[in-house]
């Protein structure tokens, strides 16, 4: 078709009709794009308002642009120690929970043993219990043993490991199910003992699942509010800081830290997606 013909056809067509025809043919695509816009809208709002220069105590109305919230991210008393505490807890809890969860996943997928069904059920239970019940029941325990474990750092850590373990088990298990056991048998046939086989064959193969569990646990822990609020006593994690702030004042620094976390997590995930795509292409 020549360019003249294309122009003539375009001119005859009503642009509104063309758009409507396109939308009809791609309803699902258009809908999905709108859905993504809806999902990302609040994130965009948080990002934009991190540059706001509010005049009152609340950061709900746009007053003007400033960089100062970002350069003075820790200018609000207590915000820095809250962020540090959240990161500390998340780091230790995710490592502990992933370790415990990986061992459990290995047992559940590899071995037939008595009590397997019950074990699966007990792992599943915390996932199907509302957080408020987890928090409330832990608090009733900790109140009764506060002379042994004072309510604070350690009780937060214990709680976080508890609700992360199930997520770690589920994540690692999903990967182990599709695992080719012939590879291990081959290693043993070639004279490797069980420990060497585990170290040289099993571990490298399930390493991506362990990493995924680690990241998932870290993300869940850093973001947790409800359970933490019950067992934190006077300690303040970042989500607790935000909760306290929401009642009296919402400084834009909250948005700054929220978006900083978002950018770090999104970058890590994007990198992972690109790595996977490249590996898929090479394979």
């Amino acid at each position: 078709m020549t360019s003249v013909a294309v122009a003539a056809r375009g001119a005859r067509r009503n642009p509104l009709r063309v758009t409507l025809a396109f939308v009809r043919r791609h309803v699902l695509t258009v809908y999905s794009l709108l859905f993504f816009a809806y999902l990302l809208l609040p994130i965009a709002v948080v990002a934009v308002f991190s540059f706001n220069h509010p005049t009152g105590r609340f950061n709900f109305v746009w007053k003007g642009f400033t960089w100062s919230n970002w350069s003075h991210w820790n200018a609000i008393p207590g915000i820095q120690s809250a962020v540090v505490l959240s990161l500390e807890i998340a780091l230790i809890a995710s490592v502990l929970a992933t370790g415990l969860g990986t061992l459990m996943a290995l047992a559940l997928v590899r071995y037939g043993f008595r009590g397997r069904g019950t074990t699966n059920f007990i792992v599943f239970l915390p996932l199907s219990t509302p957080e408020i019940v987890l928090g409330a029941s832990l608090l009733t325990l900790f109140l009764n043993i506060s002379h042994v474990i004072p309510i604070g750092f350690w009780t937060i850590l214990i709680a976080h490991v508890m609700f992360c373990v199930s997520f770690a088990v589920v994540t690692v298990k999903a990967r182990l199910v599709g695992f080719d056991r012939h590879l291990e048998e081959a290693a043993m046939d070639l004279g490797a003992n069980e420990w060497v086989t585990f170290k040289k064959v099993t571990l490298p193969l399930i390493a991506p699942a362990i990493l995924a569990a680690l990241l998932l646990c870290f993300a869940i822990s850093v973001d947790d509010f409800v359970v933490t609020y019950f067992v934190a006593g006077s300690r303040v994690t970042f989500p607790i800081f935000v909760w306290g702030a929401a009642r009296v004042a919402t400084p834009p620094q909250i948005n700054v830290i929220g978006i900083a976390f978002f950018v770090i997590a999104a970058t890590a995930m994007l990198g992972n997606v690109f790595l996977q795509n490249r590996r898929a292409k090479q394979a």
């Binding site: 599943f124 994007l270 997606v273």
Partner: protein
């Protein structure tokens, strides 16, 4: 590893014991303490003592029936809306995503990278009385002039729906992704219309995802109090708000423990009923 070789039967128990011990001490035992606490009476000033105070349960049901009902109503609504809204998108990614699938999934979980409370505060900004959304809804007469969206039940349901949407969309995607395309082609070869092929083949095959998604959305939604606190008003408070304030502000532990236990029992009963209807292996994997 010689030890493991000699005691092969013990290996799974050795692998399980640290994690199971943790779950037993910090999940199962606390539930026992919760029940124990829920049957106590007294006050924070004079101390609590255990005396089979079943009245805590009757008082909770009688006094807070509205909040209980609202919790399940809001959670049910949010779950239904989340299912309807995210199914087409999960379908689109699974069947039309091509090599962009992983990237598109990233968009689905993106909200989780922003702290829950900050996300909810963002909705407070978006739905605020002088915001764009309220002005738009007023212009098309969905909101009466001077009316508000914030501090209503609608805002609470909208917030819950948004906050738990990825829990619905991800399992839906996983189950849709696993469907063998040739089955759908076979249905169409046998003269099923596209819509009929979807209803008779695709949708039934995606049911495990629907089950997982509805549970993962409904359970946290029923116990939520953050959305009702930040986006609602006292008339749209859920049972989570009552439990939270009784535990953390009023220090009325027995009443709060009784309510927590009732909430958990109702949810567990619903999950088990659901599990029986669809088969447990799908739930616990």
């Amino acid at each position: 590893m010689g030890f493991f070789h000699r005691h092969r039967g013990a290996t799974p128990y050795l692998l399980l014991s640290p994690g199971m011990l943790w779950l037993a001490i910090f999940f199962l035992v606390p539930l026992g303490f919760l029940i124990y606490q829920s049957l106590q009476s007294g006050s924070i000033d004079f101390g609590y003592h255990f005396n089979w105070a079943w009245s805590n349960y009757w008082d909770a049901i009688k006094g807070y029936r509205g909040e209980f009902e609202r919790s399940f109503e809001y959670a049910g609504l949010a779950t239904a809306i989340a299912l309807l809204v995210s199914y087409p998108v999960a379908y689109w990614i699974a069947f039309r995503g091509g090599r962009w699938k992983n990237l598109l999934l990233l968009f689905i979980v993106a909200p989780f990278f922003v702290t829950y409370l900050i996300r909810t505060l963002a909705w407070e900004t978006i739905l605020s009385d002088h915001g764009v959304v309220v002005r738009l809804l007023t212009d098309i007469h969905l909101v009466s002039p001077g009316g508000r969206v914030l501090a209503t039940g609608t805002a609470v349901v909208a917030g819950i729906t948004y906050n738990f949407l990825p829990f619905m969309a991800l399992p839906l995607y996983v189950s849709l992704e696993q469907i063998d395309q040739t089955l759908i082609e076979a249905a169409e070869d046998l003269y099923a219309s596209k819509w009929r092929a979807f209803l008779r083949v695709t949708f039934p095959l995606s049911l495990p995802g629907v089950v997982a998604g509805t549970l993962l959305t409904f359970i946290p939604a029923a116990g939520d109090f953050i959305n009702a606190q930040l986006l609602g008003s006292p008339t749209s408070h859920m049972i989570g708000n009552v439990i939270n304030s009784k535990f953390n502000e009023l220090i009325d532990y027995p009443a709060a423990a009784a309510m927590s236990f009732i909430l958990m029992a109702i949810i567990l009963a619903m999950v088990l009923g659901y599990a029986r209807a669809v088969g447990t292996e799908k739930l616990t994997g």
